[in-house]
Amino acid sequence: MRHYVIAGVLVIVLAVATYAGLMAIHLMPVEASAQSIPIDHLWNIEIAIISFLFALIMVPLIYSLIVFRRRKGDTSDGEHIEGNNTLEITWTVIPLIVVLILAYIGTYTLGDVLAVDPNALEINVTARQWAWSFTYPEGFTAKELHLLVNQPVVLDMQSVDVIHSFWVPQFRIKQDVLPGRITTERITPILIGNYTVTCAQLCGTGHTYMTAPVIVSTQADYDTWIQAQVAAATVAAQTPIGRGQQLVAQNGCASCHSIDGSSTGIAPTWKGLYQSQVKLSGGTNVAPGTVVIANEAYLIESIVNPSAKIVNGFQDNVMPKSFGTTLTQSQISDIVAYIETLK
């Protein structure tokens, strides 16, 4: 009997200590969305259950190892106890009930998290290897996600290539972004600040760096930013170079190609590309080692049919092959015009 009492007390002590300790070190990042609150609530319940179960197993385990260890010179066996059906049924049924309750709480937490708000602002998110772009209701596209505090938003997300996943740790929610189908994520930011959206699904070489800034701001700051973007977009749309620059942003070229001569390790830089000599490692119909001049025709071919000529030191099948169909002739010439300015 004494053993049971001591172990029982120790279980309670250890459970409380574990729970308190885990709470004290702040396991989760700050709560920056309305959705994070029910999620963290559920999480705390789970931590309580885990702490208790941890103690419930660990204490008798360690207690037995110490108290019931074999003493020197003792060669006898332990007590012959084969089992106890009542106990077995107890520890089948009680966890069963716990687990069912947990699943029930889980279900309605999920309901809270997914709740639809008809006033939500709609933002289109495009994911591609390896960049995010956001199209706002005002019609422009940017590489940053600006949100208004306490304003629910619904993100309509689609990928142009492989599967990505939208995740802001402080918002808690994660959602995969698929090619050929739209997935949605609903969030209501509640804390002003700067965050980062990361891609949480392995999507190839550049996955590590597939991030974009998320800025949650007040009404005034938000409006200022939106107006500035709208204005800049209108100006840029007037010249081919400006349009080219916009297209480059919208199509995520810059996630692979740098424009300042720095190396991304994924694709050649565009700085000084125009009219330079490019050494090829092969391609659909060229011999390895050929050197070509990067004239306009070459740039167009490289966009429409990237496999035709592979730049030495880079891989085939990395650059998407779809730009020839998704971009129009005039859009391509706008992009080329823009690339030509990057001396």
Binding site: L27, P29, I39, L42, W43, E46, I50, F54, I57, M58, P60, L61, S64, L65, F68, R69, R70, S76, D77, G78, H80, I81, E82, G83, E88, W91, T92, P95, V99, L102, I105, G106, T107, T109, V162, I163, S165, W167, Q170, R172, I173, K174, Q175, D176, L178, P179, R181, T198, A200, L202, G204, T205, G206, H207, G265, S281, G282, A287, P288, Q315
Partner: protein, 620 residues
Amino acid sequence: MKKFFTSALMRGLFWQLIGWIVGALFVTGVRVLMGLNPFVTGQYFFTEPAWVFGGLVGAISYVASTGAMTDWFKWAKGEEVPEHREDPPGWEKYLNVSLDHKVIGVQYTVTALFLLCVGGLFALIFRTELAHSGLQFLTLQEYNTFMSLHGIVMIVGILLGVAGLMNYLVPMLIGAQDMAFPRLNAFSYWVAPPAAVLLLSTLLFGGFDTGWTGYPPLSERAPLGMQMFFLGVAVAGWASILGGLNLLASVLRMRAKGMTPFRMPIFVWAAIATSLISTTATQLIGLSFQMVMFQRLFGMGFFDSEKGGNPILFQHLFWFYSHPAVYVFVLPGLGIISELMPVFARKPLFGYRFVAMSSLGIALVGFLVWAHHMFVSGMNPYLRIPFMFSTLLVAVPTGVKFFSWVSTLWKGKIEAPTPMLFVIGGVVVFLLGGLSGPPNATVATDLHLQNTYWIVGHFHDTMFGGYIFPFFAAIYYWFPKVTGRRMNEALGKIHFWLMMPSFLTLTLLMMRVGLLGMRRRVADYDPALGFDNYHLIMTIAAYLIAISILIFLYNLIVSVTHGEVATGNVWNSRSPEWQVPSPMPVHNYDQPFEVIGEPYDYGLPGSVYIKFEDKKSKGH
């Protein structure tokens, strides 16, 4: 040395290479006849179909050249083959085709240890890269390749380790002379080495950067190495499928007299549950990988949304195997824990029937939970609820095991030599891993946890605690049975006391950074997150684990020839295999035995488990 180079193992490697080239040349020839481009400019010379077909021919050549199929060819030709084939004495039998389940068990185990070391080495490489933010010495592509290969090599390593334990132990435990189909058993083992070669060959073909899950559409675009990965896993799968089939048939048909279902040693129950999964579900990982292979080779649009395919279908097919597979890793490990604990606590296994049934329960419920890996995948949102319920249900039978283990220890007379240390370590680590499961299972919290280091921590704890620790326990425990010598106790204890704390540090920190926002499968992280120190400690912990494993390997190798001689019942166990002298005789038991008592009646004076029959009624 000459015997080494002419062994089946090396012969197979040679013929695999030849077969590979011949297969590739064949396809290239066909392409020439069809007027297609025979070669590709650039890195790999042959075209992708040529390499893939070559890989398949190579794998078959390996198995055929070892002689594992020779008897079948003879049967097909209508020739007589002898029922038994004795192995020549000496160590060469381990490198050649043997029909003895004990030899095959050792072959599996050694191959598994080799792969676990290779996979661990990959982990060390990329852990070193992660020690500090920024890219140190790996490119992004190299990081992904090492990370993905680490995952799959470890998993295949475990699968072979599982097969090793089951092969070595089950026939002995049930009192059989061998498995039901010894030739099939040998065949199952011999498909594993070429599969390992295929997997490692990915390094030569540009690697693959999809993780071990190989999700399309990413895997459609990955380098040629991807195909070798698919092929390697599909080939290795056959070892699992046929091994499981063989085991089920053996347990159903070869048990000793009187060994009723609830008088079998408990590990046998674990082996049954495991084999049920591996014979059936394994087909689906093969199928899903085959479908991506075909998509790459023939443009078949199963998972291509532009052709009306569905990338999520792949995930369903893949996880339909790969979730139950985690129970393939863990059930035998838990079986080992249940098997050894009574021996060292000197007390009967508490609630034998419940522990036995919980294995089956875990295996069966495990078939119904696969979509918990897909909570954020974009599948039908309502489907998530039933999968949450089913996943949480698995906690119940797992809990039964834990509670029964603890009750087995309670009021025992516990001894803690090295095998017992690993058993206890396994229980503790697996408890942490198991308890980190329910938060993943409740959908709402998984939205945060998915694809973070929290998950990485969860599954290292479950796999290490549920398999690697018990695997070490089993090796320390049955080593005398295999060799007639013991492994060194002191080194074993050092191994444990170095590995256990390092491992806990590694995984607890993984969980910590994961919750705070550390994604999986990244080569670099933002220094602003403040994870640098955590990662540095994790890397150091990984090296400490590696050192402990080197100590183990040293101990293992030296003990084979220099260990303390131990031919008797070293652990004072009631289990049948310890009632005969070590090393185990070729045909296991010279006289058949009959089961007349309960397997774990420690502490009941005068009770016996088995009784050998008289010499005269000797079988075969």
